[in-house]
Symmetry: C2
Subunit: 148 residues, 2 copies
C-alpha cells in the first residue's frame, strides 16, 4: 500500500480552500477567488486560450468571468477527492456553474476541475489548475449539457 | 520557501512515464498506454463523457482511440513541468496529436494535460488524469486549432 500518510487535516484545509469558492462566486468576491494562487501559476481554463501563466492572468480572467454575471454565479461542487502528501497535493471534482449573463443568456453547465498545490511557508498554494468540459469528436462542439 | 525537497530522481521517473507515450502512440502499443494507472483512476478525458472511472475504462478508451488511427498517432509534448513530493506528485504539459483517421480525416491539434500520481509500493501510479482543449464561449465550439 501507499507509504504516504495522507493527513486528514491537510485534506480538510484543501477542501475548505476549494469550497470557499461557492459563496465567493455567489457574492462576486474577487478577492477570495484570486487568493491561494502562486505567482507562477499555470492555468488551463475551460475557455481559451490554451493556457494562462501567472496569478495576474488568473485575476484578470476571474474579473472578466464575474463581469458577465451581474447577479453572481451559482456554483455546486460534487465528488471532490483530495490527495495530500506532506507538501504536494492535488484534488479533483465536478462543478456546475449557473446564472444569467448580462445579455440575458441563462447558463447551467457541468465542468471538471483539477487543482494542484504545493505547501509554501506552511500554507497550501495553487501552482496549477485545469478546468474544462469535454468535446464531441463528431461535431467539434463543447459538451456543455452533460450531467454527472 | 517550500519545505519540500523535490527529488530530481522522482521528477525524472515521472517525466519518463509521460514521455514513453510518444513512441507508444506511434506504434499503437496499448500495453504501454495502459500501464501506470491505478485501478481506481478518475479520468477526465478530452472527449466525453464528463469522466471515466477505473483503469478498465481507461484501457477501453485507449483502444478505441488507437482504432481510429490505422497508422498510429504522432504526438509531441512540450512545456512539461513535474512537481514531486515524497509520495504525491503532479505534472502538466501541452501536447499535439496528429495523424490520419480511418475515414481519411487528418487531425492535428494541441491539448492540455494534467497527470496526478501517488507512490504505491515504491512505484508512481496515476490516480487522476485530465486532458482537454478549451472552448470558445461565443460559439460553443471546441478550440482545436490553437497554437501554444
Amino acid at each position: 500500500m501507499a507509504a504516504h500518510t495522507t493527513s486528514g487535516s491537510e485534506e480538510a484545509q484543501i477542501r475548505a480552500l476549494i469550497e470557499k469558492r461557492i459563496p465567493a462566486l455567489a457574492a462576486k468576491d474577487v478577492a477570495v477567488l484570486t487568493s491561494d494562487y502562486a505567482r507562477n501559476l499555470v492555468l488551463f481554463d475551460a475557455v481559451g486560450p490554451l493556457r494562462h501563466i501567472g496569478s495576474d492572468a488568473q485575476a484578470q480572467r476571474a474579473a472578466e468571468w464575474l463581469s458577465l454575471y451581474p447577479e453572481g454565479i451559482d456554483c455546486q461542487i460534487r465528488d471532490i477527492e483530495v490527495t495530500a502528501g506532506e507538501d504536494v497535493a492535488f484534488c479533483h471534482y465536478l462543478y456546475r456553474v449557473g446564472g444569467t449573463m448580462t445579455d440575458g443568456t441563462r447558463v447551467g453547465m457541468w465542468l471538471r476541475a483539477t487543482v494542484c498545490l504545493s505547501k509554501i511557508d506552511g500554507a497550501w498554494v495553487i501552482t496549477h489548475e485545469h478546468a474544462s468540459v469535454p468535446f464531441d469528436g463528431k461535431t467539434g462542439a463543447a459538451s456543455v449539457d452533460l450531467q454527472p
